[in-house]
Amino acid sequence: MTTVPATEQVIAERSVATPAAGRPRRGRRAGTPYAFLAPAIVLFAAFLGAPIVYAAYLSLRKVQVKGLGLGSGARSEVWAGVENYVRSVTDAEFLPSVGRIGAYGLIVVPVMLGLALLFALLLDAGRTRVGGFARTAIFLPYAVPAVVASLLWGFLYLPRISPLNDILEGSGLGSPNLLGSSWILYAVANIAIWGGTGFNMIVLYTALKAIPQDMYEAARLDGASEVQIAWRIKIPIIAPSLVMTFVFSLIATLQVFAEPMTLRPLSNTISATWTPLMKVYRDAFIRNDIYSAAATSVIIAVATFALSFGFLKLVGSRAFRQED
């Protein structure tokens, strides 16, 4: 984070130096920034802008067939208006899937951010010699792709092949079916927490490292304990980072897909529309209905946008402001 102002400074110095050294040809200079920006703009337009526009267009279309719908000319694409949107929202599977990720978010976000904050504070307190190792060990799961992580955990959840169940059974606790209907939400949440804590911890830890040490010194002279320092100095100062990690976690929750999708074939309890994004996948690639898939995608995108920016508004956009 501290490198950003430094780079800006270097750029500022250069742009100040250029007019003195270069020739004063205004017209050519005015176009230069755009030339440098062009590759980024073209890539953004081609791979993000255009697909979004195309998805929005598709969400207003649908396929219409005639009669048996067999053979050539029986199928045509027509305007659908908001029909796809109405069908998406009124789908019997849609609201339960939203409720499910609501419950999932209530588990994942507090536990993951709580653990990340705890680990970051513990590492920052510097009382442990294994700091470097612990930091890497906690961060490492984030480097494991979600699909691989879900497979690993899936194997640990399946009763017959899981060493966890051997241990539980051996200790007389019985063997719960972790993929059964009463446990499945926690089983999926666990994978996300395992994979996400490390990333959030690094963000918070980096913010903690930026706090000047003399504040702690002053606090200690005033007789503050470590817990008081953490609670009254560290946490308020890194609040912007906490807000930022919260927004990222919120977005990740709304878009949860890989974990339940990978666990789905292992269990009876995860339906094809378990989360809203899974419904998009089912509509597009199992039902071959990319039109209603596009409509649901647009709804999810708008909801994500509204929730993230609504939250930022609520906390006063502190996350992305410079700490001063």
Partner: protein, 433 residues
């Protein structure tokens, strides 16, 4: 953040690829000079070796195999290419249940004039599948996958059981196996395998879709399917069989360690058992599928595929010539069975199937049982939205199997029927009911 960005990027790339369509597998050569080049999408292992034989004998029609990942991804790719207007192959392997979907997307050419005369060379059930119950012919059957019953002979011998001839005997055997050893089951009800359940409904006399003039009928919730759902739901409810899905590491372990001692499966089962339960080699036996009425034995299919010509092919005649050779010529059938390990659909392929599969080396009559079963297939028509019905099956029967309630099994059929019907009406198909 990285994950979110990656997700957004992946999603937009998916949409973009959907928008841009397929690559350039299309051959743009015209009918002018030189040999005709045909591309062939298939996921059958070793099919390139079978095609080499054709290419050696037919220098004027050169077929190139383009290996696919599997049935579902190949269909998605083909539908995208058809939508884009180019990029489809000349020849396409298509599972029987996918044919109506492909025909409905105008992806398969009608080869009635070129291949209509082959009707008598195939079992009726397979031929119904490639015609979608109409006068047109959209593909030539390649392999047949009649349902059979596979069981651990050592376990049956120990308990004094014989291979069940009827479903009542199967239920009795399942109870006896589970009573003798609480960890053992004669099978599982898998909500993940709609194709298997469709095969069992087919055996009971169901045909989930049918064509009546220019109108579709959907009959998923009929008496025959109700009977099948009630039977399996009852066994799950009383705990005589297990309720976990097939094709999971859990199920593989159960087959391997002797907890699952029976499997209702198709003729291709030996390959799966060999891969998943290698430790049990030599202990299995194959038998005909248990019957509802032993006097009139019937069976259904689970899997199997046909070879079709796509509507983008510029060489329909030559392509049909090739698929006719591939699926009916005795030399080709021998290669299909021996090299590509498929069970040919053609009726006169017995000489290609002399020796039993390696995993069932001790059972000399393996292919005799399979051939008998292949002739007993009930006709079954698949509709243009099998994907919707199968996906509804996964969800509704998943819930029922988890709850272990027989009543939910039969109620699930009503939901399946409703979702399938709604989807067809919504798309504009003319459908009764």
């Amino acid at each position: 953040m990285k994950k979110t960005l990656a997700g957004v990027l992946a999603a937009s790339l998916l949409l973009l690829t959907a928008a841009c369509g397929g690559g350039s597998d299309d051959d743009s050569s015209t009918e002018a000079t030189g040999p005709v080049e045909l591309s062939y999408w298939t996921w059958t292992p070793n099919m390139d070796k079978v095609v080499e034989t054709w290419n050696a004998a037919h220098p004027d029609i050169k077929v190139t195999v383009n290996k696919q990942d599997g049935g579902d991804p190949a269909v998605t790719k083909l539908l995208t290419a058809i939508k884009a207007g180019s990029g489809a192959p000349d020849i396409m392997q298509a599972e029987y249940q996918k044919i109506p979907t492909l025909v409905s997307a105008d992806a398969l050419a009608d080869i009635k004039d070129e291949a209509g005369s082959l009707k008598d060379k195939f079992p009726e059930a397979n031929w119904t599948s490639v015609t979608v119950g109409s006068d047109s012919v959209y593909a030539v059957p390649q392999d047949n996958a009649p349902l059979m019953f596979f069981y651990r002979k050592d376990v049956f011998d120990k308990l004094g059981l014989a291979a069940p001839k009827t479903w009542d005997e199967y239920a009795a055997a399942a109870r006896k196996v589970h009573q003798a050893d609480a960890k053992q089951y004669l099978g599982t009800f898998s909500a993940a395998d709609a194709g298997q359940f469709a095969g069992l409904a087919q055996q009971a006399g169901a045909s989930w879709w049918s064509v009546d003039g220019d109108t579709w009928n959907v009959n998923i919730n009929d008496a025959a399917t109700q009977k099948v759902a009630g039977f399996w739901g009852g066994l799950v409810q009383e705990g005589a069989i297990s309720n976990t899905p097939q094709y999971t590491p859990e199920w593989n372990a159960a087959l391997n360690d002797g907890s699952q001692v029976g499997w209702v499966s198709a003729v291709w089962a030996p390959g799966v058992l060999e891969g998943n339960a290698g430790k049990t080699k030599g202990k299995w036996a194959a038998a005909p599928l248990p019957q509802w009425d032993a006097a009139t034995p019937k069976t259904g299919n689970w899997g199997g595929s046909a070879t079709a010509v796509t509507t983008q092919s510029k060489h329909k005649k030559q392509a049909t010539e090739f698929i006719q050779w591939l699926n009916t010529d005795p030399a080709a059938l021998k290669l299909l069975a021996g090299t590509a390990n498929v069970y040919p659909a053609a009726l006169d392929s017995s000489e290609a199937l002399a020796t039993p599969p390696a995993f069932f080396a001790g059972q000399a009559d393996f292919y005799t049982i399979a051939a008998e079963a292949a002739k007993q297939g009930n006709p079954f028509t698949y509709g243009p939205n099998v994907n919707v019905a199968y996906s509804a099956f996964n969800d509704t029967f998943g819930k029922a199997a988890e709850a272990k309630q027989s009543a939910q099994f039969t109620a699930a059929l009503a939901t399946m029927q409703q979702q399938t019907l709604d989807d067809m009406k919504n798309t504009g198909f003319k459908v009764a009911g």
